[in-house]
């Protein structure tokens, strides 16, 4: 029974996609109902797999057409859900479920929603399929479906500024990435004559031939494009900003995580290449550059969503750096950060969507003072901003802390000064992230309200519910994270490090040993620093103490006065005695002292993000070539 769940979850999403197109293009109820049904079904089915996979350590396998492996050869397409797949699977289904709820409210002003939901469900099905599949070519097919659906969704509001252009760039860069994955898969097939990942892993453990090294390089580069690390990040910034927000959330939350998943799957499980320090260094450098470039570019943006897009890139840099460490601690931290990024970046995009929905603009210089009109959105945004900046007690702090600890441990054990630089970069990037969210907070939610936004209202409940769920998850994952670590992260990290076990479970017991892949037991990662219960108590105590002191002092303490309905001079903002006037410190006016010192840097990097497709493709091709060459030289 259980083993049908993965394939059913994927297939029902695809089925619903076609049903929506047939029956739902006119009828709103059928459309929304089908979408919600399919995504809820996928969520329930993946959650049901937690017990066998995460707790009992099973691997759910399903062979299409019952083509189970015969005498050690896996020819059929298999769905293999191990803990790593399931971890990402839960993220995928949860993200799409929340996004489909949000879409009901957010998209109701658009036309041709049948197409929207069709593409949306195709996208969800393909990402879920990519995560669940155990066949490397099937993975490629899913990547391509994902790219199509993403491109079409990016261009969905094709009359909005830049949507078509963004879609075109996304398509071109994306298909270069998938081409290199395809070429890598083909080369791998020529060496191993199989497409099943477990079998590939056992064959490749005998040592990599030069062709497989090239294949490895191409596949890493391909998944690098899919996870939008620098210098492949350019279309991501455009597409996330141009797509409808419910889709941007999915892009940033899950579509680039699919690339990260592919990277982990390939590097850790299929090629088991993390023993090579060259691979670690290469990925670490790419990760560090990604987080730095992402955040510095985000600091100069004037568009709310484009700024968030650059932050997505930056946070993916954290994940890649953490994953590159090759240790259980790093991998756990990376997976946790990937999960947290899905939560808080999804939340932030939803807040941006709420602002766009009510005011019709996301230009930071044309907004301001919305906190009086949209207080609930503001609170959600502040939680998301705190989480992404890694402030305690939110989830970002826990995962970022694991990452710092992982990198610095790596620096000490390997004695490599490079890792110290990366630790410092990671910490500084965290502060810059905070800075750019301060900028958004000031420019959008605080400051002064513009006259044209006087009749702005809070968004409808159907949009607020996903925001609240995500905000709650941000806090919960930050506080009860030992449970998260025990039931989600550790099994996933274990599954990616303990390759022999995976091969055995897929291909039959004893197969891994015959191929020379050891089954090892990974030690659970322990964290003693952050005892969330203690922290909650600490917060509680100090808070209550403050409250008690305040209450005891009601008689003596001066009163807290708030403005009434009619304007009074006493409650007016101080303008050196002048009458209150409109004067907003906009987003682009902030951080002058910083920008002045970084003028040279910004000059170069704004020119590099030129917006010309051929420039972007050149970066992509050159970087792919560099990755392949580096790996070819250092891994042989």
């Amino acid at each position: 029974m259980m083993q049908h769940f993965p394939v059913l979850a994927v297939m029902l999403l695809f089925l619903a996609a076609f049903l929506v197109e047939i029956f739902g293009s006119k009828n709103k109820v059928i459309r929304n109902g089908l979408t919600l049904l399919a995504t809820t079904n996928a969520l329930v089915m993946t959650l049901a797999l937690i017990k066998p996979v995460m707790m009992n350590g099973e691997v759910i396998s399903y062979w299409m057409g019952n083509w189970a492996p015969v005498s050690g050869y896996a020819i059929g397409i298999g769905y293999e859900v191990d803990a790593l797949s399931l971890f990402f699977g839960i993220l995928v289904t949860a993200t799409f479920w929340l996004s489909s709820i949000y879409s009901i409210g957010y998209m109701n002003k658009d036309h041709h929603l049948g197409h929207y939901y069709t593409l949306f469900l195709m996208l969800s099905g393909s990402v879920l399929g990519l995560v669940f599949t155990g066949d490397i070519f099937n993975m490629f097919v899913m990547i391509e479906i994902m790219t199509f659906a993403s491109v079409a969704l990016t261009a969905f509001r094709n009359d909005s500024e830049g949507a078509l252009e963004a879609a075109f760039k996304y398509l071109v860069i994306g298909s270069i990435g998938s081409s290199s994955v395809l070429a890598g898969v083909a080369m791998l097939y020529s060496q191993c004559h199989t497409l099943n990942m477990a079998q590939l892993s056992s064959i490749l453990s005998g040592g990599l031939t030069p062709t497989s090294v090239v294949a490895f390089g191409l596949i890493v580069a391909g998944f690098g494009v899919k996870s939008y690390i620098v210098p492949f990040h350019t279309p991501a910034a455009d597409a996330y900003a141009a797509a409808p927000t419910s889709v941007s959330m999915v892009f940033s939350g899950m579509v680039n995580k699919a690339g990260v998943y592919g990277m982990i799957r390939m590097v850790y499980i299929v090629f088991r290449a993390m023993d090579h320090s060259s691979v670690q260094m290469l990925l670490a450098v790419f990760g560090a550059v990604t987080m730095f470039v992402g955040v510095t570019m985000a600091l100069t943006q004037h568009e709310f969503k484009r700024l968030l897009a650059f932050h997505s890139i930056s946070q993916i840099g954290y994940v890649i750096t953490a994953v590159s460490l090759g240790s259980a601690l790093g991998l756990t931290g990376g997976l946790f950060h990937a999960m947290n990024h899905t939560l808080f970046k999804g939340l932030l995009f939803l807040c941006a969507g709420a602002v766009l929905y009510r005011t019709g603009t996301t230009n930071l210089d044309k907004l301001g003072g919305l906190s009086k009109k949209m207080p609930q959105t503001t609170i959600c945004f502040l939680i998301g901003a705190g989480a992404i900046s890694g402030l305690p007690p939110f989830n970002g702090f826990a995962s970022k802390w694991m990452i710092y600890q992982g990198i610095f441990t790596k620096a000490l054990t390997s004695g490599n000064f490079l890792y110290v630089i990366i630790t410092v970069t990671a910490l500084i990037v965290s502060v810059m992230t905070l800075a750019s969210f301060i900028k958004v907070t000031q420019a959008v939610f605080f400051g002064q309200l513009r006259e044209e936004h006087n009749d702005v209202k809070e968004v409808p409940a159907v949009m607020l519910i996903p925001m609240y769920i995500m905000a709650a998850l941000c806090v919960i994952c930050g506080t009860i994270y030992p449970l998260v670590s025990k039931y989600l992260l550790f099994p996933a990290a274990n599954a990616s490090l303990n390759v022999g076990d995976y091969i055995d479970k897929m291909m039959g017991a004893g197969y891994a040993e015959a191929a020379g892949v050891p089954t090892m037991l990974v030690e659970p990662v322990t964290f003693s620093f952050w005892n969330p219960v203690l922290w909650l108590i600490l917060f509680g105590i100090v808070f209550f103490a403050a409250v008690i002191v305040i209450l005891l002092g009601t008689n003596e303490r001066g009163k807290i006065l708030t403005a009434g309905e009619k304007p009074e001079a006493k409650y007016a903002t101080f303008f050196s005695g002048e009458e209150e006037m409109f004067s907003q410190v906009g987003g682009s006016d902030l951080f002058w002292g910083f920008k002045k010192n970084w003028k040279g840097y910004y000059k170069v990097f704004t020119e590099l993000h030129s917006g010309i497709v051929t420039d972007y493709t050149s970066y992509t091709v050159i970087a792919t070539a560099i990755i392949v060459m580096c790996l070819f030289i250092f891994m042989r």
């Binding site: 003072g369 305690p392 500084i428």
Partner: protein, 316 residues
């Protein structure tokens, strides 16, 4: 009993009350000594306490443009986070809490203190506050890099080839091997931390964010009464925390055995550090511009800290 001890640690010593009292005391010393340096009599040492209680007794006006929840919540959030930071700073032999990564916890909780000021100022809706928060944030960005470098070099020095982000470990190391200040490879880092303290506390010449003469105290402009008092208290607490951090990172190792003696010596050393890095620099300098501040921290101070890190990394 356990719970009672816990409560005492959090609320009284070395938590909220102790930090606040020591902070106000240090602020008073600062004002008194600076007055003497200028050949004035100066206010009494308990003056910051009077200021605080006076502000508690005044009206708190929430401006019409402000978001009430954030406006009033920000100072309390800052207070809570700063009260918690102090729990992680060992008072020579005595440590309230110690984990494996106190340095990172301290770094982030101090950041929350700054963020509370920024968010509170931002929520007041004043353009002066807008400029103020921009400067405050740039100040934060500028001292964070050298701060991180200093912390990493201490961690490397103490830990050798293991991870030593724990304050307890640092205190033990100094008790065994003498204060870190007297190991010459750490001297540049110590100087760097001394230069970071005024910026963290918001004292001249690094007080561009709260420049009262040009931008009317920046983020604090719309605050009045109890909320302003909380912010003033937060600044004083930061003073206590930062000097205490310097004391336990670089001047640790003194252990008398009794907590009271330790605490008294600790406060005395903190006062000396305050005089060296806050009062003297305040008395002899004028306010820097924000871009010069940024440049100063990312070149001179970071250079000092980096020099220390490289020396320590080479095993000196």
């Amino acid at each position: 009993m356990q719970i009672l001890l816990f409560l005492v640690k959090v609320l009284i010593f070395p938590g909220a009350l102790f930090t606040a009292c020591v902070g106000l005391f240090l602020a008073g010393i600062d004002r008194k000594v600076i007055a003497h340096m200028q050949k004035r009599i100066g206010p009494p040492i308990r003056q910051p306490m009077y200021d605080f209680f006076k502000l508690m007794g005044k009206e708190t006006i929430v401006p019409a443009r402000a978001n009430k929840l954030v406006f009033l919540g920000a100072p309390i959030a800052g207070f809570i986070s700063l009260a918690i930071v102090m729990l992680f700073i060992p008072i020579f032999g005595f440590t309230a809490f110690s984990g494996t990564a106190d340095l990172i916890v301290i770094l982030y909780f101090l950041t929350i203190g700054g963020v509370a000021l920024i968010v509170g100022g931002s929520s007041s809706g004043s353009p002066y506050a807008g400029i103020g928060i921009s400067r405050e944030m740039v100040t934060m960005m500028s001292y964070e890099l050298p701060f991180v470098l200093v912390l990493l070099s201490v961690a490397r020095k103490v830990g050798g080839s293991t991870l030593a982000f724990s304050m307890n470990q640092i205190a033990d190391y100094q008790a065994a091997n003498g204060s870190l200040l007297f190991s010459w490879s750490m001297i540049p880092a110590a100087i760097a931390l001394l230069l970071i303290i005024p910026a963290e506390v918001g004292m001249q010449p690094f007080d561009v964010a709260e420049a009262e003469t040009e931008i009317c105290e920046g983020p604090l402009i719309e605050y009045s009464g109890a909320a302003l008092g909380m912010f003033k208290l937060n600044t004083a607490m930061k003073m206590c925390i930062m000097t205490g951090l310097f004391t336990s990172l670089f001047l640790g190792g003194i252990r008398t055995g009794t907590v009271v003696c330790d605490a008294i010596i600790f406060v005395a050393v903190c006062a000396v550090v305050t005089l060296v890095c806050i009062t003297t620099i305040h008395a002899v300098t004028a306010r820097l511009k924000i871009e010069h501040l940024f440049k100063f921290y990312w070149t001179v101070v970071s250079g000092l800290a980096l020099a220390s890190l490289i020396l320590v990394w080479m095993g000196l």
